[in-house]
């Protein structure tokens, strides 16, 4: 009989080992999935994890993409992790990301074609504020009326998507675009463009912001009272109240921060890699970031690594579609497996497995 026995203190070894174990299990199960699809599993795994970085022909294109994809994931996941640590579940980062992008792009388009140094900083502020404001809706509803932030933030994603479509087709449509949907391309507007900071690396302002967010989140959680209160609230809400934490204030702070970071990610994306407000410029980063946050154990450094790994599966997935003809859905299933296995093996952190005989009394 297999039994689970609670550990007196969480295992440090398994805290670090479970993400690796989850990656390995995902590779095995994913390999099986690809085998059933009639592909060589080893080749598929190699195409996803190895070729994007080291393939002689494609690596020069796909390697910079790693930071481009990982940047927004990390930036959003860091914000989400603060709330998740406190038991505040912002599931609607995708919506905040879209609104941030719309607000930032809106500023750019309003100033077009003015060339001034302050255009880009204003866009950054607008992006953050947009995401923050969108996240304040579930936050205020929760603090005022005790609504469930999971449902409200999630449903607001679909509202944001409708708003995005209307912007791309209406208000923000490129007047010189011949009636096609989509805004002006911000990459062609130097004052607003979020270009590569170091050529050939994929490094843009959003990636820099993500790295800064990692460092700030680390300091906040480990060295600051607010971070301590966030962790305390997540672990024992009653003890947190005893320690003087005001739960409503914490809800506003956590949802606000995660919204602002998601908004920033949206702005950097629309001004950089995506280039324009279009119906589908958002790539589901806001949802994937949830996986990244958990894969990184809600720890800033873990999220950094998890974001890079998840970015890799994005690029590798594209490559596998292109080279092996794997369906996009298979890639998404593969990414979902990662979260599934992570949550599954998570139990090892707090429990140890005992294998013993069953005995009749």
């Amino acid at each position: 009989m297999i039994r689970l026995e609670k550990r007196p203190t969480p295992s440090r070894f398994w805290t670090l080992a479970t993400p690796l174990l989850a990656v390995i299990l995902t590779m095995i199960a994913g390999g099986l999935l690809f085998a059933f699809l009639g592909k060589d599993p080893l080749e598929a795994i190699r195409t996803i994890f190895w070729d994007p970085l080291f393939h002689p022909q494609f690596a020069s294109y796909s390697r910079p993409q790693l930071l481009v994809k990982a940047g927004p994931l990390i930036l959003i996941a860091i914000g989400l992790s603060l709330g998740f640590r406190a038991g505040i579940w912002n599931i609607g980062a995708e919506g905040q990301y879209i609104i941030g992008a719309i607000c930032g792009a809106g500023v750019a388009l309003a100033f077009y074609p003015l060339e001034a140094w302050y255009v880009f900083p204003l866009m950054v502020i607008a992006g953050a504020l947009g995401g923050w404001a969108w996240a304040m809706i579930p936050a205020l509803l929760k603090t005022r009326f005790r609504t469930n932030e999971i449902l409200v933030s999630l449903l607001l994603v679909y509202v944001a998507e409708e708003l995005l479509a209307s912007m791309a087709l209406g208000l923000m449509r490129n007047p010189a675009g011949g009636g096609f949907p989509g805004s002006r391309n911000l990459q062609q507007y130097p004052a607003a463009a979020n270009g590569e900071l170091i050529a050939g690396t994929g490094m843009h302002w959003g990636v820099a912001a993500a790295f800064i967010a990692v460092i700030l989140a680390y300091v906040l959680l480990n060295r600051h009272m607010l971070g301590f209160h966030i962790r305390l609230t997540g672990q024992s809400p009653r003890a947190a109240r005893f320690a003087g934490v005001r739960p409503n204030a914490l809800i506003l702070i956590c949802l606000g921060t995660s919204g602002a970071l998601a908004g920033l990610a949206g702005l950097f994306e629309v001004a950089g890699p995506a280039g324009q407000i279009s119906i589908d410029f958002n790539q589901g980063y806001g949802f994937t970031a949830i996986i990244v946050a958990f894969l990184g154990r809600l720890h800033p450094v873990g999220i950094l690594l998890a974001g890079l790994l998840m970015g890799l599966t994005y690029i590798g997935g594209d490559l596998a579609q292109f080279m092996l003809g794997l369906p996009a859905a298979a890639i998404q299933a593969f990414q979902g497996m990662l979260l599934f296995f992570l949550l599954g093996v998570d139990v090892l952190t707090n429990y140890r497995i005992r294998i013993g005989r069953t005995e009749a009394a």
Partner: protein, 506 residues
Amino acid sequence: MTTLLTIEGLTKAYPGVVANSDVSFAIAEGEVHALLGENGAGKSTLVKMIYGLVKPDSGRMILHGHPYEPAEPRAARAAGVAMVFQHFSLFDALNVAENISLGMESPPPRRQLAARIREVSDAYGLPLDPDRTVGELSAGERQRVEIIRCLLQDPKLLIMDEPTSVLTPQEVEILFRTLRKLSSEGTAILYISHKLEEIRTLCDSATILRRGKVVDSCNPREKSAAELAELMVGSKLQTPSRPGATPGEIVLDVAGLSVRSASAFGTSLRDVTFTVRAGEILGIGGVAGNGQDELLAALSGEAQARAGSIRLRGTPIGALGPNQRRRIAILAAPEERLGHAAAPDMSLTENALLTGAIREGLTTRGFLKWPAARAFAERVITAFDVRTPGPANAARSLSGGNLQKFVIGREVLQRPEVLVVNQPTWGVDAAAAAAIRQALLDLAENGAAVVVISQDLDELMEISDRFAALNEGRLSPPRPARGLTMEEIGLMMGGAHDMETPHVDA
């Protein structure tokens, strides 16, 4: 008397600690057998092995002359062993009969079960209405649900873990009458308690455990409480002492304090009025669930009250939050150690930070000073003899008594002017309890106003200057503790709840 259960050489080791080492004793049919020992002496591990929750590493048990190796509680129950736990496992929203039927292997139809419940509760003098919702019951009544749940199985051995900690003196009387009747019918009772006087009145024999080993067995009626305590601790027990100090000016003034309970099954405070002077200990008794948690929350600042209903030296403070109160030296230690007073998965250092940040200066502009926090945790560990490998250990890895010493020590070392504690020695061994009480007395001696909320009346009588009781959210007018009889105290606590006609034919 024939032997019911023989225990031979039971040993159980956990990583780093031997909980039971070569424990042997026997229980006869109809015997009331006490299991005495400090916290961490191995009492709970031992009864868990008897009840099938833990498997011994070695040794054996013999029940009715047959080897007895329960693999799980279900097997133990089938063999006639039942247990009433210290913590009740009842659903507040369900009624008595539903709760009882949930714990049964093959529950009979509801109406038949209700009839059985009435029958058993009448026979043993434990009146209980099967249709009442458990959330509305007093702690004493909830315990009756648990006891009747056991009695329905017709047990040969009934294990009771600290059963009287939630009862009024009158309710204790009734419980003892029930237990004596059970014992006269041949049911053996294994009774775990640290209340020595109770053991002396109730039990026929006692096995004393210390650090996992049986150190002695005796007839508790032939020993004095002090002798029993010495056997248990292994050295002479320091009973708390206090020089008679004259109380100073009024520090804490609570007048007309009414607070709605935050929980649906909680008890709202109604018009609570009392004062505490500098150097004085006010003891507040009462059966659990009569507003103790709510009173602590109102005094600690977790629950907000009308500003004027609580005053510190005349200044209204009822509307201040916990940290604002800490700043003016009003500190508190709630009852629930894990999850309220301390965060279970956090280290002792982090838990020291939990309430100590402000008064111990553990932050600068919001940034944490970890070395200072660690030093504060270490100071608490040393000063209060908290047994743990170090401040990096998680709170939940400590035994109840050690964590309680940490929680009380953390507040006492912050030099409070007013200290409010709820159940300071609940589930704590005799030596640790004595140390905690002494610390509270010393604190009062040095001029602090101390409010001790407790269900342990002996404790309150030992340390309080004045005594009041909470009953359904109302506080009786405080009276000088000296000279109060148990009878008077029981009446202040509301007498026996719904027990107007207790009768047992024994």
